[in-house]
Each structure stands twice: as structure tokens, then as C-alpha cells.
Symmetry: C2
């Protein structure tokens, strides 16, 4: 029977640790929420520590090429204590972000009703971090000489281009137009004067095209303070790859845990598939216990749907999650219990 | 009359904004606390935005040479909105840290009784950040080509040496021996694999010489989470220049405001004078209003005294500050009121 629905191919990369436990729930949520509007074909990819330890492969070319042909990617988490830090992160996760030119790393932070924030007076927190995803200190530029000797020198190079910065700046202003029309650039331009100055100039230039959007600037160190004592000030936070990594984890803590934070690695011109993942890691300490919270993964499925244009289906997942947290957020539940509870509401 | 006390020359650099308002109180606290053990000669230096705007000078060689001859430096804050970001920070503050080889940037974080932390359940927070002060992304390496065009490329280079890392790692382990014997290395070794790997190897190596000290590792993003939801886990946090900048401001927020956080930029081999400063900035928004809290500056005077070996005098300042905060911490007071109240208790 030919389906009348549009068909999509979704790459599923559960990855490591709790990634494997939460991703099936993201997939089920996707399936259920979009059942009456789209048809998804899932292509699972066996990538991560197990595969690497088994046959030494991290992201073979044929897998990358197959992933490139999909419409979107659901990713769990990458990283395993048995593998040296950096090998899987750079060889798999960052390689995907770079090879698929996912230049916008979109990370909403929202304090859900029913979640206890560690802040005494959290107020109404609702902002989005637009993190650059293909430049900065994540390029892998840098090296070491005289390794292991007392004369070792190790470098890391942050590469920033006007091309790469301008496209993500534009994305942030467009996003602000759909939100509360305020962009905060976060950098460290009083020290990183070359990159910081370029970011600020490009924000000023693009900002002129969006007269309705106000923009201001915070140093990264000051921004970490504001996240704790005045998170309400933020609407769209625009920042580079490393600062975005740091700020979004802190933001996750402030809204009661990275268990509620999803993210999209977005190729905004749709040249390649975009990738959706919880911002939490593989959490080796709780992996295998069946207690990881699948909420962030499920929210990443909503981001995927929104990215493909299925706003209503995405809203159904968001609403289900909101209702679940409001009612049961403070109860101890297993991965499967939370998954089932949310699914039942979609 | 010849004094029987040891004599010290203290360079005083109030700097910009509220730096000028709080530094006199640090100086008075120093004077009073050490009156019966040391004699201080203060040499004021007119450095900062005013001087720069007046005659274009940031840190003339003769000033730097004069500062080198002093025994310690009391600094207020540097930075002014009338001056382009980076000019004073790099030309004055960072130039001092680098020229005086202040490789340990020591930043204690403590939640004082009487201070309201923004955290709901702050618990007993008491850790020290040992931030490297003369390397990393703060070197000023990097540049830009095709500036202002769509083909601009801007770089920032983090330079890390075994020599520079090992000396600060050693300092952290020595400090841990006097505290709770635990060191946490914070880095981002899963991405910054060259520098991160070197830091980890050196920590492992030096750690072997301190079998009583346990050490672990957190990624910078995870560390920002722990600062919010489990700050009690930390004793000595050891990290690089940029991550230390970020973590200590967040830590300041967590303990109720950077108004209570002092720091020492330390040349631990005493080849050059060390420098003591509040970690807050020049705060242009409140400068001139007489409402800046001088507590952090006064605490930096205590750090200076401890550095010169006057532990009892330093403890007198710390005790005065603790008592002041416990009793009056939550009352609205002017700079001078807080200064007078603390002075009265020394
Ligand atoms: C695993 C790591 C490489 C990754 C990053 O630093 O981007 C993670 O922390 C994230 O934020 O997605
Ligand atoms: C003013 C600035 C250059 C400085 C730094 O980044 O080190 C400040 O933030 C600090 O932490 O002392």
C-alpha cells in the first residue's frame, strides 16, 4: 500500500551508555506524534564505543555517506570510559557536526513547571542558546611538540571566519524575531580580541538589518553569573562553540538538570541532515541501570519534527512532556516508566 | 625613629571604576591589621582608563620597573566603557600578570554565614580555584587576516607548556596538602586533546608524589553543573587560564556574589611581587555612586598579608569580614559604611 504521507529516512545513532537506553524512547515519541502526517524509515547505525572496541572503526566513510542521504539524525550520546577521551567525541560526534556542516547548535533552556531548580528563586526561565557548531576551538587545529618531556608545548587553535560567524549570527537574529526580539552575544572580547572583535562587528552589522531586535554583549565570565542570579534577562544567547558548550551545561543545571535539555545540530540550509540529541552525555556511572531520564531525548525528537516542518506534531510531544513533568516530575521513575508515561500523553 | 618592624613597599593600583572606591579600604585594612608586625610604604600608581585617555599611556616601562621593585601589589579593577575592550585588560592587567610571571591565580570561594546564596540548598561551600595565570588563550597569540571583509579569518591560540603547567600543578597539590587533600582538574580534554592530555599527564605524574592527595577530573561543562548542584564536592580546583576565569565568576555567583571573592595573582617563587585584587570588575554601572561593596578588596588585603607570611594579621581581617557579614551582611550599606564597619572589627 502506498502511503499518502511524506516519507523520511531517519538515521538513529544511539551511541554509548545511556544513549542506548533513551534513544528508543525518542524514536517511539517521534513515531507516535507524527503518525498521521509523516512516515519514517529508521536506519540504525552501530557507532560508538562497542563498535570501536570490536573492530577499531569510529565513523567509516560508507556510514557517513549513508547518513548524509538521510533526512535527519536522532543521536543518543557519545563517550565511554574504556576509550581515551577525545577519540569518540572527535572521531564520531564532532566529525558528524563538521562533516554535515551543522553550523547552528540550538539549545533551548526552559524551567518546566514541576521541576525543582537548584536556584532559590528561579523565576520564569526561557531562553535559547545559539551555539556556533563548526568553528572555534573545536576545529582540531593545534598540536604538541616534545610530548612527554619537560619541554613539551601543546597548542589549541580557535579558527573563526566571517563566513562561519555571519551565518550563525543571522540565524540568531531570525530566531529572535520569532521570540522576544533580544540577542545577547557572549564572548570574551576583552582577552580574545581577534575573534571577539570579529564576532561583535558582525553582530553589529547584521543587527542593523533587524531594527526590531535589540542586542547586547556579556563576557563569558559575567554570563555564567547572570545564568545563576538573573537568567530571566536572556532571550537568545549567541555564542561560539566552546562558550556555548559551557553555558548550555550550566543552563541545564539551572533549569533543574540536563535531563530536560535537548539540542539540535542544524544545517540550516538543508544541504545535509540535521542531528538531534539530548545535551546530556553517555553518563557511564548510571548506564545499564535503567534509570536514565529519557525526557531530553524525547524533547530532541520534538526538535527534529519541528525542523522537518511538523510543528503540530512537535507541539504534541512538548505538551506531553510538560504535562508529565508537571504531574510526575518529582517522582522517582525508571527510564521505561518515564518513557511510557510521556508516550501515553502524546 | 627606626622601626623594629620589617618594612614592605606596596604598589597600589586602584585602576578604574569601583576599583578606586574599594582599594582605599583594602589599604586601610592592611594597615590596621598589620600595624604591630610590619610597616608598609604605599606607592600609588596612576594606571587605568583616566591616564590612558589623558596621555595615551597604559603601563609605561618605568612604572613596570618601579612595580617590579615593590614587595606586593594591591589592585582594584581594570576596564572602562570609554576604552575599547581589551586595551586596558591586555595592556595593563594581563601585562602585569605576565610580566611579573604570576603563574598562580588563586581564588578561594567560600559561602559566608549571613550571605544569601542564590542556590536553594547551598550547603557548606569552601573550595579554592588554582587558575594558571601566564599561559593558555591569554597569551595574546592569534591574529586576523582580511579584517572587515567577508573573507576575514580570526584566530586565537592557546599555548601551554609542560614547564608552565607543572609549576601550577605542583602548587595545587601543595595547597591540597594544607586543605582537604583533593584536587580536581578541570579541562576539556575530550575536545582540546593536545592541551588537555598534557594537563592530565602532568597531574597524574605530580600526583604520584602526593600519595595522600586524591585527584579526579571534570570537563569544564560538567564542572559548571557541579558548581550549581554539588559545590561541596570541590576542595582544590586546578584549571587553565580561561576555564579558571569562567569557573571563578560562576563560583562567585554561587556564594552570593563576586562582592565576597578575592584573588591573588601569585609569583610563587617570589622573583617578582604578587598582586592581590577582588575578582569583581570595575562595574561602570555602579561606579561613582559610593555603593560598591569593599569586602572583596578587603579580603584581598588579607591574602596579601598571608602571602607575606603574616598569617595572624590576615586571620584578623578574615575574622572581621566574617563577623561583619554574619551580623550585617543582609543590610544595605554604602562602600564607606561597610569599610568602617569591617575596620572597626579588625
Ligand atoms: C561530548 C562533547 C564533545 C560535546 C561538546 O563539547 O560539544 C558535548 O559536551 C556537547 O555539548 O554536546
Ligand atoms: C578583566 C579580565 C581580563 C580578567 C580576566 O579575564 O582574567 C578578569 O575577568 C579576571 O578574572 O580577573
Amino acid at each position: 500500500v502506498m502511503s499518502e504521507h511524506k516519507q523520511y529516512t531517519i538515521a538513529v545513532i544511539p551511541g554509548d551508555g545511556i544513549g542506548k537506553e533513551v534513544t528508543p524512547w525518542a524514536q517511539q515519541a517521534l513515531e507516535k506524534a507524527a503518525a498521521d502526517v509523516a512516515e519514517f524509515n529508521y536506519v540504525p547505525f552501530d557507532l560508538g564505543a562497542e563498535r570501536y572496541l570490536r573492530d577499531g572503526e569510529i565513523l567509516p566513510d560508507e556510514d557517513l555517506e549513508a547518513i548524509k542521504k538521510t533526512d535527519a539524525i536522532l543521536l543518543g550520546a557519545v563517550g565511554d570510559p574504556r576509550v581515551k577521551a577525545g577519540v569518540l567525541e572527535r572521531g564520531l560526534l564532532l566529525k558528524l557536526r563538521f562533516a554535515l556542516d551543522q553550523y547552528v547548535n540550538l539549545r533551548p533552556s526552559k524551567l518546566y513547571k514541576g521541576v525543582t531548580s537548584p536556584l532559590a528563586e528561579p523565576g520564569d526561565i526561557d531562553f535559547v542558546v545559539v551555539r556556533e557548531g563548526t568553528e572555534g576551538l573545536y576545529c582540531g587545529a593545534g598540536g604538541a611538540i616534545r610530548k612527554g618531556t619537560e619541554h613539551e608545548v601543546a597548542t589549541e587553535v580557535s579558527i573563526n571566519t566571517a563566513y562561519g560567524v555571519e551565518r550563525v549570527v543571522r540565524y540568531a537574529f531570525e530566531l529572535a524575531m520569532k521570540r522576544h526580539k533580544h540577542v545577547t552575544l557572549v564572548h570574551k572580547k576583552n582577552v580574545l580580541v581577534n575573534a571577539g572583535d570579529m564576532w561583535q562587528r558582525i553582530v553589529d552589522k547584521v543587527g542593523e538589518e533587524y531594527p526590531e531586535v535589540t542586542h547586547d554583549y556579556n563576557h563569558i565570565d559575567a554570563a555564567t553569573i547572570y545564568l545563576v542570579n538573573d537568567p530571566q534577562r536572556f532571550d537568545v544567547i549567541l555564542t561560539d562553540n566552546l562558550f556555548g558548550d559551557i553555558l548550555t551545561d550550566e543552563a541545564g543545571a539551572v533549569v533543574g538538570g540536563v535531563g530536560y535539555s535537548a539540542s539540535g545540530c542544524i544545517n540550516a540550509i538543508d544541504e545535509y541532515p540535521s542531528m538531534f540529541e539530548p545535551i546530556h552525555g553517555s553518563a557511564p556511572d548510571i548506564a545499564g541501570k535503567g534509570i536514565a531520564n529519557p525526557t531530553a531525548a524525547i524533547l530532541s525528537a520534538a526538535m527534529l519534527l519541528r525542523h522537518l516542518g511538523f510543528d503540530d506534531a512537535a507541539a504534541r510531544i512538548d505538551a506531553a512532556v510538560e504535562a508529565d513533568i508537571a504531574e510526575l516530575g518529582s517522582t522517582q521513575r525508571s527510564t521505561d516508566e518515564v518513557g511510557r508515561d510521556i508516550l501515553a500523553r502524546i
